[in-house]
Amino acid sequence: MRKILLGTTAVVGAALLGAGTASAQQAPTVRIGGYFNFFTGYTQQTSANANNVPMVTSPGDNGTGSNGTSTVQNGSVRTNKWDMRSDAEVHVFVDGKTANGISYGAVIELEVDASEGQLLNSRRNTSAKTGVSTDEMYGFIATPLLGQIRYGDEDGVLGGLMNTGVVTNFGTGGVYGEWQNFVIRSGPRTTTSPGDLGDATKVIYLSPQFFGFDFGASFAPNQGQGSGNGCIQNIPTYTCDRAITWTGATANGVNHDNYTSRRNEYQVAGRWRGTLGGIGLAVSGGYIGSGAPQDINTTGTVITRGLNGLGVAYGGIQATAYGFTLGANYQHGDGNFFWQPTVRGSRAMDQWMIGASYTIGPVTFGGNFVTGTYAGNQGNTVNTTTGAFVTNNNTAQARQQRRYGMSFGGNYRLAPGLDIVAEYTNYRIRERGVDLDGIANNGVQDRLRADVFILGTRLAF
């Protein structure tokens, strides 16, 4: 009797029975959230200057003048160490519940850093770096008994949703934090964080939790996101979301994080969360796999498989007690830094990360460390004329890239959502025999380093 009384009150339970609970229907609410941050940074990095290299020297264009001629010419640049950065995002949340208890809604996140670079006095075909674009945008449907389905541009289950052991709850996130925005790309940047897998348009299933366990799976047909087909011309191009084979896929697919270099990406993950002896524990594991585009020669007669598909296993563990959070994660498999596919014949990726934080009153401080070995710029290629797979026999190159990152930071919470933040990060990359900074005439820079100290404030709402 009692179970019936309250059971019919429970919104979703009654929903599955399908009758008599019209009063439980909830009209959608629309909420707005987001953040604003402001940081000043002091950056020391290798390759901060360039001498006599091809570059755009005329403000106001992107390398092509108004009459169609190239404006790229050799020049030199010096940079200083201090800078200021501001950033913001606005998130819109829509939540509702149907009469039969199904929750539904959508999340749309707008960011204002659409482009890393900018052209002052830009022409019509360029944009400012403060352009507004979407970050994640997805819809969802959920029931307590059957779980949740998300669909749209969102992280996968291992691309951030169910990972454990990634301790970033201090500073701006440590090695995965804001420091990268202060480093010029010829220096070391980017790490293989779960979120760096990107928000490719996908379908995600997330199970309910039973006995502390839950699991999930996601699938994306390619790396494209948002509306539009991705093609930059009126003909099929390598940027099209649906492109599966193109000339130069092997050479470019390993180095550029925005190429459509993953096909049929799937992720599966399982997780357990619970408490043992007063210590909160979380353990997760899973796998991300995908196919990769193939190379085709310029005349379109020979198709060659130059890239391995992505295939990375992930495991993580995290413990929380008495204000302390400790975590570690490890990932191994076919994948390069940037989560890009490797060229056939490359070494597998091994990466591990540890982190710790401590919160006492309004103060939180912590640190994290990440290191790994990756295929790097392995050097095997596909001949674009003949379509033949060409093995790199340059013995001076290590065929292995090592990356190290460590960071320490702290926050003082002035008010709910309002923090003062300080953080120091050191990041290094090494790949013997390979010029990593892309500045050809300053010698072979096979060791890159960046040290970034940032101080600022952040408001989340």
Partner: protein
């Protein structure tokens, strides 16, 4: 080469497997149970403080309703059960009510039709959750014989029936709240 078909089968099997768990050990995850790589989420992780649910532009702020429902201002127990118990026992004079301990004690009450019989009830609201076992009511009965009140037996069903009335009233209050 990725093979999506086994994955498709897995995707179909996963919800079915999830549905197999008993409902007592199964609970829905909240949105906050999942990682979020946005800087807003990262900022809200700091210090393990409660996440802001944002500013409501349109619709009803149900997060505040939920907070009020779980334990309204000044209440340490479930507000629906607390108010339902007060409503149900309101026909009797109230001796004491402790919203922090969740205890309601009535004074002796004699129905007008039976002046030689009187009742007293003690109710315990047992927690913050709206559960069927979240309320316990004990009823005491005395009869007057020779000018003295003497303890008398009470049917076992009496307390149980009062509890059912409280739960029904709690359900009513919850439904009214959801419809707002």
């Amino acid at each position: 080469m990725a093979r999506p078909f086994p994955l498709l089968a897995l995707a179909i099997a996963l919800p079915a497997l999830a549905a197999c768990g008993s409902s007592e050990n199964t609970r829905a995850n909240n949105m906050s149970d999942y990682g979020d790589d946005s800087r807003r989420a990262r900022a809200q992780q700091i210090g393990n403080q409660l996440q802001s649910s944002g500013i409501v532009l349109f619709g009803t702020d149900r997060s505040r309703q939920a907070q009020d429902a779980a334990a309204g201002p000044g209440l340490a127990v479930n507000a629906y059960l607390w108010r339902a118990t007060l409503d149900t026992l309101s026909f009797m004079p109230l001796a004491s009510a402790d919203p922090f301990g969740g205890v309601i004690i009535t004074d002796w009450y004699s129905p007008a039709s039976t002046p030689d019989e009187r009742f007293k009830a003690t109710a315990y609201v047992l927690g913050r959750q709206l559960r069927s076992d979240g309320i316990r009511i004990t009823v005491f009965r005395q009869v007057r014989r020779g000018g003295q009140w003497l303890d008398a037996a009470v049917s076992n069903a009496t307390g149980s029936e009062l509890e059912d009335k409280v739960l029904a009233r709690a359900r009513e209050l919850r439904s009214q709240s959801a419809a707002r």
